[in-house]
């Protein structure tokens, strides 16, 4: 393994781990449910993508042939993360989670909730 590739893999690993840590910090510290939804969907996906690309480069060099298996996991996560976030958002609306008072346009959330449950006024 050449020095250049080793540096690339190391930088990608540490960068990905930092991005994932920032996502988890966001999950722990942001004030309400809907803001907490942002951190995992964006940061964790990019972080894990970086680590998977690093792994792909590492094994391509080590095994001596092109190894694209990690691309599958990356694509799968990139496709499913927004779907999961959308479902989590719907579940949050349905559950009537508390929002911070500084949230603007709270009537829109109420409108979306009433559309899910038309009988519940």
């Amino acid at each position: 393994m050449t020095v250049f590739l080793e540096v690339v893999v190391s930088v990608l690993l540490v960068f990905g781990a930092i991005v994932m840590l920032i996502g988890s910090i966001g999950l722990a510290k942001l004030p309400d449910y809907f803001t907490r939804l942002h951190a995992p969907t964006k940061a964790s996906t990019l972080g894990v993508a970086c680590i998977l690309v690093a792994s792909m480069i590492f094994f391509s060099v080590q095994l001596g042939h092109v190894n694209l298996k990690e691309v599958l996991i990356t694509m799968f996560l990139l496709i499913t993360a927004p779907v999961a976030a959308h479902m989590l958002g719907k579940a949050g609306l349905h559950y009537k989670v508390k929002m911070t008072d500084s949230t603007q346009n709270q009537h829109l959330a109420k409108k979306a909730y009433l559309q899910q449950n038309p009988d519940d006024k």
Binding site: E6, M20, G23, I25, L88
Partner: protein, 89 residues
């Protein structure tokens, strides 16, 4: 250099997992806990890949793929349960 980078990355991801576990415990609501589980499985994929690089064997890839598949299915099942009170209609 690579081994040091792997150690640093492992430490950072373990901190991230601890923060997720904290959110999982204090929660305040059920949807919050679901997000915590969702983030936790993504972090554990990264941890398994790091273990694979550390040991230099490519077989850990399959387990990472399985966790990714089952994690998404479980998150959507949890959400479905919250939305409808039932998973299969």
């Amino acid at each position: 250099m690579l081994s040091v980078a792997i150690l640093i990355a492992c430490a950072l991801i373990c901190c991230a997992l601890a923060l997720n576990a904290w959110r999982l415990i204090i929660g305040p609501t059920t949807p919050d806990r679901i997000i915590a589980v969702d983030t936790m499985y993504i972090n554990s994929i990264a941890l398994i890949i790091l273990l694979g690089i550390h040991q230099g064997s490519a077989i850990y890839y399959e387990s990472a793929l399985l966790i990714a598949l089952l994690g998404f299915v479980s998150t959507s099942a949890f959400c479905k349960y919250l939305l409808r009170g039932d998973i299969i209609e």
